[in-house]
Assembly symmetry: C2
Homo-oligomer: 499 residues x 2
């Protein structure tokens, strides 16, 4: 090692854009994902856990999201003789590894293959507020099923998963649309030529992304992007698709095609796609999805046809879906707005083809883990706050074994409990520690109590309430502290915990 002329201590810092999760942040997510897994497994989906690291070759060099072409991956080259080592990278989503697995194990996996995956993914992008470079995804996909029954199943499963984690019926809606219908509308608008699909490809990309921004930009903003382009508040200009007024109105009509019932919406779409073969096929698929869902009892209170949903990603080829939470929250400016999207997906038929040359039909959904968890917290459904432990304080250093014995009894009764393990000299520090641990009860046994064979239980929850409402009569009669026989320790703690 080279000698360091100015030795200094390393910085104790998370790398930029990364974060640590403590306590309830970990357990609440874990519990939510466990509930989702149960639903996925009931639907016959099997878990798959691929490694965090893939070859860059297998991942593909670029993210599919055309809106963020500069997003990269964290990559490095394997050490090897010369400069021949493979380039490796952290996965940026769970779909690319699935495509690799589906190709690699194609002779061993059941076909169709239903799998779910949950875990972190990494994006080498500029971190920003609330924008992290490692985050969780939770995906379920069916590979090898050409039938839209697979898409319908994913929509039903998504609804069940949302209810399983605590989003009540009526607080969410799964919206379904079909890219083929959109393509039919593009054909009618004259930006898709079925005999030469490569024509107008750039224009269609702009149309797609414009529709995807309807929520944010409103109809006028979308209209601008369909036409010449749009200048945003900062003065930046985004080039439009260059559609004429009449063409634009065809597309705008598509987005506004939703009607009070699914049947009416489908009729309206059938009119809009006119003579387009692909458009007609898309409408039939939407019809079939509706029928299949109705047969399973999933009506428009849970799943609706909504032509305004297109999903930004370029790779979808058929049905697309999005789960939106409809209850209201207050935004950062105190205005009410509905919570918005927490999951999305669709059919993509060409991901495996990169590896094998064969097109394999696939459809899937990805739940935004952080957003869904935020929603559960907003609704007070993220589970009871993790209970702090009962803290057994140390009054007398010579009787540590006795205190440890108390802790062991409590733990054996299933009660979360700790002995104070810091320096016991300052008793105030022990109570401060209990407070920081959100401890419900402090157990205290000094020499006097030991001689009498008793322990004192301090009700810290009640104590805090009394401190807060000192004037209220109701608290005055309730003692925040009781002395009980040592032999009654566990029973008395259970009583105080209300168990």
């Amino acid at each position: 090692m080279a000698k360091d002329k100015s030795p200094r201590r390393p910085r104790a810092e998370t790398p930029k854009g990364f974060r640590d999760y403590f306590g309830a942040d970990v357990t609440e997510r874990r519990d939510m994902l466990a509930r989702i897994s149960e639903v996925y497994e009931r639907y016959g989906f099997d878990p798959l856990e691929t490694s965090a690291v893939e070859t860059v070759e297998a991942l593909g060099k670029f993210l599919p999201d055309v809106d963020r072409p500069n997003e990269g991956v964290f990559g490095w080259q394997e050490a090897d003789d010369g400069d021949k080592g493979d380039w490796l990278a952290l996965r940026y989503d769970l779909t690319a590894p699935l495509a690799r697995v589906a190709a690699q194990y194609r002779n061993d996996l059941p076909s169709p293959y239903r799998r779910y995956a949950m875990g972190p993914v990494w994006r080498n992008e500029k971190p920003g507020p609330g924008r992290f470079r490692q985050f969780y995804q939770c995906d379920a996909d069916t590979v090898g099923a050409p039938s839209v029954a697979a898409d319908a199943e994913i929509c039903a499963m998504l609804a069940d998963a949302l209810e399983a984690v605590g989003i009540g019926r009526g607080d969410y809606v799964v919206k379904v649309n079909n890219r083929k219908v959109l393509n039919g509308v593009m054909e009618v608008a004259g930006v898709l030529d079925p005999s030469d699909p490569s024509k107008f490809e750039a224009e269609r990309g702009i149309v797609l992304r414009a529709i995807d921004k309807l929520d944010r930009l409103g109809p006028d903003g979308v209209r601008a992007l369909l036409g010449a382009g749009r200048k945003d508040e900062s003065g930046d200009f985004t080039k439009g698709a260059g559609l004429g007024a009449e063409q634009s109105e065809v597309v705008m009509g598509f987005m506004a095609a939703m009607r009070p019932t699914g049947a009416e919406t489908i009729e309206r779409l059938r009119t809009l796609v006119g003579m387009s073969v692909m458009g007609g096929e898309g409408v039939c698929e939407l019809q079939e999805i509706t029928t299949l869902l109705a047969a399973q009892g999933y009506g428009p209170d849970r799943i609706v046809i909504d032509p305004s949903v297109v999903r930004g990603l370029g790779y979808y080829t058929g049905p697309v879906f999005e789960a939106e939470l409809t209850f209201e929250i207050l935004d950062e400016k105190g205005r009410k707005r509905s919570f918005g999207s927490v999951a999305g997906g669709g059919r993509y038929d060409d991901l495996v083809k990169r590896f094998t040359g064969q097109s394999v039909p696939a459809t899937g959904v990805s739940i935004g883990v952080d957003r869904l968890l935020a929603a559960l917290r907003a609704k007070g459904r993220a589970g009871a706050k993790a209970a702090g432990p009962v803290v057994v304080t140390v009054m007398d250093r010579d009787r540590m074994a006795e205190y440890m014995g108390m802790v062991a009894e409590l733990r054996q009764a299933g009660i979360r409990a700790e002995m104070y393990l810091g320096n016991p000299k300052n008793f105030g520090n022990q109570l401060k520690y209990a407070d920081k641990r959100k401890s419900p009860i402090a157990v205290i046994q000094g020499g006097d109590e030991a001689a009498k064979g008793t322990v004192v239980l301090k009700d810290l929850v009640l104590g805090a309430k009394i401190a807060e409402h000192a004037s209220l009569e109701e608290w005055k009669d309730r003692p925040a502290q009781v002395e009980v026989p040592r032999t009654d320790l566990v029973a008395a703690v259970l009583r105080m915990l209300g168990k």
Copy 2:
């Protein structure tokens, strides 16, 4: 992008040394870790999940395991103006990130801080059979507790965790020793000078690693390493510590100091450390740990003082512990041997000092997740094999909605179920699919059954048994197939599943 003259398809391969986990491999580990978490939480430990990525500066450039100094990390440099970007790397264990967290949040965390962490770690080392570059660790540590009560607690918790996952009492033992006692013995042997600890440092390192290899090399092998050195079977020579015969016997006596009871072992150790102050301190600590554990009901049937345990890592400073599974398995050559170590840990007091300059006492344990899971499988305790789904077959493409309705009813009754989503034309393929899915029951409804309002349930488990034991009378009377009214579908499936 440069034009590729010979375009070829990417290889669908896991990178070298990495692997994919399917189905039960994922769920069995998940269930095991969930049981361990429950125990850790009952003991007051809080979960912590740090990101996979750390700065190389925070990680430290080298692994603490001196036996494998060439083990590296997967690292890369952040893109930045010039060449100033931070070097980042994947964590190689869960202790280095804990040290960083303990320093970074030292004003916010409770002190002592009990935390547990579970997750993958990465090692950039040459992959080999059964040796992977990504694997799970499961750690629990207490930071900021100088008292050996913290060490005793970890030992008790480790015993509880092993029992919670299904290792019965008697099938494991937690062995406890103390590095201070070893240091006392080194002092007696003349390879530690308390007034100048830097003397003989290399020799002590060799002694430590020699003792750690007792299981593998036997007493003679260790003796050789304590002396001039040892030539192994391949002819490679490992330099020894250069101890004289008398010095070596002092060390060998330490390893053989175990007596039938803990009290006798402790007495023997007290004799061996002679006048060494540090050695005497270590013996007292072992005594205190025994007392604290006894007070919690943990006797020598679960936790024993065993002087042969030293743990290879250089950074331990006090008590060290190791959990060994004592039941026998057959090794690759068909010989019986005891399963061996599945967890280990100890006290390390200087990891946080790197960041803050202040020494912070810490102690912890790491469970070898893959080894423990292998042990559970060897004992048949890794949980029932994940049940395959009931498969509803598709006899008639026009009645997909009806089949999906059946699946939905089964799922709503909590039964794992699927409709066949592949091409339904070849019915044999559907049964092959059910077989690959390890499906217990296939549900069949052709046109005739539909007209009658019935379904046929094919018992695939029984069917397989009949095929296997076709001659046995007992199977002949039991029909592997029943026809039931459509309205009885769920009840009949539950009956057939034995629920």
